[in-house]
């Protein structure tokens, strides 16, 4: 992806954000008009100026420079997806079950193929986190509400 065009789009986005920020101060109550509103206007001026300068710099830059977000896109997107799914299923399955699923699956897709070792590592990390947070520091971790009702 060309860095030049992403930079241009982002600069325009931040200029629009600066305008919206400036306009938002119009609805502020009287008590904030000469304090907070001035500060926010100051930030919006600065953002607009910096974004405009960046827009000029980007417009003059070489379009052939590419941004490589991930050298291994498959692994990259799998990690993003697995993190989202992990956090989502944690709401229903709780910390223990979701971690027991997340760890071996992620390790496998990240390229670790030793099945037995990955199971042992999964059990070790899950147990370590559970003992550390729940038993030692008495911090409550998400519980499995969907299967076991209130708590696991």
């Amino acid at each position: 992806m060309s860095k030049k065009y992403i930079d241009i789009v982002l600069s325009i986005f931040f200029i629009v954000l600066a305008v919206l920020l400036y306009r938002s101060t119009a609805t502020f109550p009287k008590s904030a008009l000469f304090t907070t509103a001035v500060y926010i206007k100051f930030l919006s001026y600065m953002l607009a100026i910096a974004s405009f300068v960046q827009l000029v710099i980007s417009s003059r830059s070489d379009a052939s420079i590419k941004v490589i977000f991930a050298r291994d896109p498959k692994k990259f997107f799998i990690l993003i997806l697995s993190l989202i799914v992990y956090v989502w299923i944690m709401r229903y399955l709780g910390f223990i079950l979701s971690t027991l699923i997340f760890l071996p699956v992620t390790m496998k897709y990240m390229g670790y193929n030793k099945f037995l070792k990955s199971i042992l590592i999964t059990a070790g990390i899950t147990l370590f986190v559970y003992i550390l947070f729940v038993k030692l520091f008495e911090i409550q971790l998400p519980e499995a509400t969907i299967i076991f009702g209130a708590a696991l």
Partner: protein, 493 residues
């Protein structure tokens, strides 16, 4: 008297255990490329939450000191700097290892790190209380300018250019606007989300941008270090002669650079390394394995530890991301950086500073006797590291407020931070903007209230004028650098 009480508190079994565990963990984390001291301290905060303040801070301080040294082990033995600050060490350390002198390089590194780190803690101990007293004279305009100076320091060293650096700092300041307005009590930019009424917590942002974003970057790597050297062949060697001037040079440079906001350990290490190169009688050996370079670079980056804590503890201005994470640790314990830390909470603060001496001793012992063993840690496959750190990041961001909303925020900051980082925006400036935002805003608003809306208040006092000079110097410095490099480029072409 307070110092004696603090010393007594530090000598308790619990604190000593915390420092030892922290320092050793720091060496391990620092030795693993891809894992940073910021990440370690950020992930530790939810755990230290349930500790007494001194134990929690000692643990985090130990990690900071240990990680700064730990980065050099993988740099010397595997040519893979554990931390960016150890990159200069790799230039001289790895050639020495290839010549069969890895033991010598490790010894120079640990002794230089120990001296640099210890001296900077002495400076922290002596300078901080004086600066804290001086800070009592600061009013709202000075605090606004201090926040601006802290941010400018980071912006000025932003790798993506000055404009993107400024934009990054402003993004952080704008995110900090979300929540309840302290002056009028109105809700700003919360979009009806109850969890945002108290603002965006910077801890999930810190964990997301400095843990998960790093893991996303690691997906391209199979192993994070190269395996060229037989680690069992490393022998213990004596400290070479003639290192003292280079250690002294690095220590002085690192301490000063550390105190300046934004100018972190990487800059300290490279400035010290380059100065050592100019000063050396054996210039031709630089790049081929000169221990003088290691001595300067390692004392330089470790001297930053104490230096960077000076503005944090006295003024509440974190100079780099590790001290920003440490600030999170202080605030979670209800400790607000500033003069009160040295009076009302003197025992905790001095105890924390004294614990840093012990952290230095711990990594000295670890480095002298076990360094080659720690290098093996860098050989852990990236696949295991990514999965494990992800779990710690998710649980860590949840545990601070027992909130799944925070976990969601952490992921948003991780993905957004990764994207912005790839485009040259500064994640350090974003996070510092988020931390310094409330300080800047309250300073700005209160100053205008006091002056009745006159902006002259920001230029009235002597400290304010000095702060303006520093801000301008920090902003002009990269522009001059840019101008010079363009001139050289034009001349060459």
């Amino acid at each position: 008297m307070i110092i004696l009480d603090a010393l007594q508190a530090v000598m308790s079994v619990n604190v000593l255990t915390a420092v030892t565990i922290g320092s050793i963990s720091g060496v391990i984390i620092g030795g693993m490329p891809g894992l940073t001291a910021t990440m370690a301290v950020a992930l530790l905060i939810p755990i230290t939450f349930s500790f007494s303040p001194l134990i929690g801070l000692s643990l985090m301080g130990g990690v900071y000191a240990g990680a700064m040294y730990g980065g050099s082990i993988a740099a010397i033995l595997l040519s893979t700097p554990g931390t960016p600050a150890a990159a200069a060490t790799a230039i001289e350390g790895y050639p020495l290892t290839k010549q069969g002198k890895g033991g010598l390089a490790l010894k120079v590194s640990v002794i230089a790190s120990f001296i640099g780190g210890t001296f900077s803690v002495v400076v922290l101990l002596l300078v901080s209380p004086l600066l804290a007293q001086f800070a009592l004279k600061f009013g709202p305009p000075e605090y606004f300018l201090l926040a601006l100076m802290g941010l400018t320091g980071v912006i000025s060293v932003s790798s993506g250019g000055l404009a993107k650096g400024i934009m990054s700092g402003l993004i952080g300041l704008i995110i900090a606007l979300i929540g309840t307005d302290a002056m009028s009590g109105m809700l700003r930019y919360t979009f009806g989300i109850v969890q945002l009424y108290e603002g965006v917590s910077f801890m999930p942002a810190l964990i997301g941008m400095f843990s998960i974003a790093q893991m996303l970057a690691l997906t391209s790597e199979k192993r994070i270090a190269n395996e060229g050297i037989d680690l069992s062949s490393i022998k213990r060697e004596k400290m070479p002669k003639g290192m003292a001037p280079f250690i002294a040079l690095g220590t002085a440079v690192g301490t000063i650079v550390g105190i300046i906001p934004g100018e972190g350990a990487t800059i300290a290490a490279f400035v010290s390394y380059n100065m050592a190169k100019q000063k050396s009688k054996f210039k031709e050996l630089f790049g081929k394995g000169n221990p003088e370079g290691i001595a300067a670079a390692e004392s330089g980056n470790n001297a930053c530890v104490g230096g960077s804590l000076v503005p944090l503890l006295t003024l509440g201005i974190p100079g780099n991301t590790v001290s920003a994470a440490l600030m999170g640790g202080l605030m979670i314990q209800g400790l607000i950086p500033g003069p009160e830390l040295f009076t009302k909470y003197g025992q905790i603060t001095y105890g924390f500073i004294l614990s840093l001496f012990i952290a230095n001793i711990v990594f000295l012992v670890v480095g002298l006797f076990f360094a080659p063993y720690f290098a093996r840690i860098a050989l852990i496959p990236a696949s295991i590291l990514i999965a494990a750190i992800s779990v710690f990041a998710v649980i860590g961001s949840y545990a601070i407020n027992n909130s799944m909303f925070d976990v969601g925020l952490m992921l948003i900051f991780a993905f957004g931070g990764f994207f912005l980082d790839k485009l040259g925006f500064s994640l350090s400036a974003i996070i510092l903007g988020m931390i310094l935002g409330p300080i800047a805003e309250s300073g700005f608003a209160q100053a205008l209230t006091i002056s009745g809306g006159t902006y002259g208040i920001f230029f009235a006092s002597v400290p304010a004028k000095i702060l303006w000079v520093v801000i301008i110097v920090l902003l002009v410095q990269p522009l001059i650098g840019h101008y010079r490099s363009r001139k050289i480029k034009n001349t060459a072409s």
